[in-house]
Subunit: 310 residues, 2 copies
Amino acid sequence: MSQPLFERLTLVGIGLIGSSIARAARRDDLAREIVISTRRPETLARAAELGLGDRYVLDPCEAVRGADCVIVSIPVGASAAMAEAIAPGLKPGAIVSDVGSVKQSVVDQMQPHLPAGVHFVPAHPLAGTEHSGPEAGFPSLFENRWCILTPVEGSDPEAVERLKAFWVGMGSKVELMDPKHHDMVLAITSHIPHLIAYNIVGTAENLGAVTKSEVIKFSASGFRDFTRIAASDPTMWRDVFLHNKDAVIEMLGRFVEDLFQLQHAIRFGEGDMLFHHFTRTREIRRAIIDAGQDTAAPDFGRGGTKPAAE
Amino acid sequence: MSQPLFERLTLVGIGLIGSSIARAARRDDLAREIVISTRRPETLARAAELGLGDRYVLDPCEAVRGADCVIVSIPVGASAAMAEAIAPGLKPGAIVSDVGSVKQSVVDQMQPHLPAGVHFVPAHPLAGTEHSGPEAGFPSLFENRWCILTPVEGSDPEAVERLKAFWVGMGSKVELMDPKHHDMVLAITSHIPHLIAYNIVGTAENLGAVTKSEVIKFSASGFRDFTRIAASDPTMWRDVFLHNKDAVIEMLGRFVEDLFQLQHAIRFGEGDMLFHHFTRTREIRRAIIDAGQDTAAPDFGRGGTKPAAE
């Protein structure tokens, strides 16, 4: 691209996602200038040490001045306050976006504060790792991953196209979706999996008959798979659950209802029901691999497991 | 080792685990002769094609004749019938072991059928992948993984030592445990994780508001982690749940109790409780990595995810 997509890109929040955007946008020459802002001075200093941007500005309202694109990458619960804080600095015609895992709540929180003439296009890149902070980011994080845009009523189609081009430029595949539908889809594909992973890891810590050290020692038999996503950022996930409450509680109800069916089958020795269920779920794994959404390598291709220090 | 540990090793069942034992025992020269038996003639022929043993014998009773070690690697629900079938062929002094994921039930099923003078030492290697069948095995499967032996009353200490040496010879770390305690430990570290993975994958298939193709498409945001273990062998896992019923139902009760606490916190906006819980679970992940039980690489070090075919 001879001409960068944006003259000035301001990234507010520079954790795993924000810093990966900074790295990918730089690598792919998507912005002439990258301005970085974040709440804590230490984190901003760290971003500067890592050379993630061109300018580092603590005050978000100052940071967004003159930017033609602003991407807010913060816990979703802080969205309203951030929209209010940056609003006076936004230039007319600027695109404002985010990366939150919940969309309707972000719309409700941010939209009322944004001035007319600013184009609000909420976004959610389905990418991440269990690590957090500016060091955790890397430029290929979004490659071949979906980014869902949830334009709101009155979103300027041209602004949506520019933001789409930005995500495609970083290697993502882009899908448009209604914010409420997004929240339902993510409740089952992401929020409930995280919640039950967090939950079983907690349950395992509180058992009388089995010690925590036994759980850790013998975790490779299944449990360890859950601990990865249960190591995700606590602030981010607290906010996800609080801000997607209805969809999460709805999906959780279905999950528990289904779990009781399996429990019933176990209690009454209904082997055929279990066998049939476990055969169906195997097919979904195959479909996910066929769709390029996971590796086919056994055990996720984990090769790097070190021998235990004994 | 100049002298193999066993003169004749008979492997009854040649799936993922049995075939990995065959490969590792050959590689590490742990048996002079390896005899393979399995229920289906096609599978036995496949084992012969793969060159997994020295002799291939369909009738398990014939296969175990003259063996100084017999390892049964079959779904745990078939243990009683198999013990009865092989009993007449076992030579005095032979070690009989298994690899089942449940131990008390295997003891109850097999012990009554085994003749006096045969040493029964149940075992459970905590190793596997989501794949099954003789092609799925590989010789390094047990390296740096735990193998739990659950000797029963009257187990000959020398037989326990020899079986321990066999597993250590294949690269495992060995732990002795009471069968009932094993079943509790595995209920939380393995059986419940598998059950809830199977369950959420089922729940995701039955939603009205979110389509199955959306679940597959957007699975990388958490869900796909669960589909791996929900792709495990259906027969094996049916039997695990049916034969560790009490421990599974007990642990499931605790899991659901804890889940309702999280649901309550979400419903009533108790952010501090959620944050505190999610911080504790992060520490367990760290402990598991420190114990060498998982890779520290982000996202399990998944590198092989192919771009989606679009």
